[in-house]
């Protein structure tokens, strides 16, 4: 199973600023291994961010998002102490979900 994400969520004015790093190979399917064989694609396809039961960001990704993906965005309506949940699923059906508590500014 993939390693946990590293999520930082903090207040910036009236908005929640979220930065996340995900642990994933993001294989394009075009890379060859040492023996010269193509390594099959393995990449995150969908990312969903929820807060208080509501989706605050969702994304579809292709193979050209960098390995160990990073994402930074902001949303309104969160408060310190509340949780932000980030989930992903990749093309092999593997998934991971982590949450972080929003910290003060």
């Amino acid at each position: 199973m993939a390693d946990p994400m590293r999520i930082r969520a903090s207040m910036a004015g009236d908005k929640v600023e979220v930065r996340v790093l995900m642990s994933h190979e993001m294989e394009t399917g075009l890379r060859k291994d040492a023996a010269g064989a193509l390594v099959p694609p393995h990449f995150i396809q969908n990312v969903t961010v929820t807060h208080a039961g509501k989706t605050v960001l969702s994304a579809q990704w292709g193979t050209s998002i960098s390995k160990n993906p990073f994402m930074h965005f902001r949303f309104k309506g969160g408060k310190p102490g509340e949780k932000v949940t980030i989930s992903w699923v990749d093309n092999k059906g593997e998934r991971r979900s982590d949450e972080a508590v929003i910290s003060g500014g």
């Binding site: 930065r19 190979e25 294989e27 960098s66 990073f70």
Partner: protein, 271 residues
């Protein structure tokens, strides 16, 4: 439009983008590369390695089902904070000068009962094959973040290692006649766009030596100081350097002498 939520680095980028656009002149290349690095600094994937390293550090493993929490990294069993800042150093129990990775191997062998060959089997990760050493080194180095490097260089064997490292630093060999000093003997030079530190200049050494281990975007992984040396010798057209070899540690002691006093910013983030 308001900028106050943007990190400073991005803000600088926005302002730069607002300047009248000119074609990229030679002198601007370095500036743009600098900007590239600033934009990356917002999130260092080495964080992921530090977290995994902490997990590995605390989890009982090996035949002895022990964690690494009692590992003596030079400041006593179980002392993590600041230990990396005083490496490499002489260890009486092994009667050797050891760097971080060499010492981690010792702890895995003695505390966890892992076979020495197994403990050094996969020091450098490849895609789909993560390395425990890269994660552990990231975690331990991170525990000295912000501290000043103070490798001791007092014990007779530490001084001996320095002399050896010095000889090796200038030793030219192979089909390209390369030595470490071929690339690291002058400040302000670069290979392609990569600046090269003069490793015998404290100003350069203090800034660079203290940023390893580092996440290398070109490799998609944290790489350790042992890998840095292995990779240099690869480029020098030498055969592969043995992991935690005496020569590698001697070179680290040599570099540490000049880097001493530099603030540890490891794990870093590099090309």
């Amino acid at each position: 439009m308001s900028f106050h939520h943007l990190p400073a680095a991005v803000l600088v980028g926005v302002l730069a983008a607002a300047l009248p656009c000119i074609c990229v002149a030679q002198q601007d290349t370095q500036k743009e590369i600098e900007r590239y690095r600033q934009l990356l600094a917002e999130g260092n994937p080495a964080d992921l390695f530090e977290a995994r390293g902490e997990e590995l550090w605390k989890t009982p493993r090996g035949p002895k089902k022990a964690s690494l929490e009692q590992c003596d990294l030079g400041l006593g069993a179980g002392v993590l904070k600041g230990a990396f800042a005083q490496l490499p150093r002489y260890f009486a129990d092994t009667d050797r000068v050891q760097d971080l990775e060499s010492r981690l191997v010792t702890c895995r062998v003695t505390l966890q009962g892992i076979d020495p060959a197994e403990a050094t089997r996969n020091p450098f990760s490849a895609p789909g094959r993560p390395s425990d050493m890269e994660a552990l080194a990231s975690f331990v180095a991170g525990q000295s973040r912000g501290m000043k490097l103070a490798a001791p260089l007092r014990h007779e064997k530490e001084l001996e290692a320095f002399r050896t490292g010095e000889q090796l630093f200038y030793r030219r060999a192979g089909p390209h006649d390369f030595a470490c000093v071929s690339c690291h003997g002058e400040s302000g030079k670069r290979i392609r766009l990569q600046e090269l530190p003069k490793l015998t200049d404290p100003d350069d050494a203090q800034k660079i030596f203290t940023t390893w281990p580092a996440y290398r975007v070109s490799q998609g992984s944290v790489r350790t100081m042992q890998h840095r040396l292995y990779d240099c010798y690869w480029q020098m057209r030498h055969p592969q350097m043995d992991y935690t070899s005496e020569a590698s540690i001697a070179l680290e002691v040599f570099m540490a002498k000049y880097a001493n006093g530099g603030e540890i910013q490891a794990p870093g983030l590099k090309r």
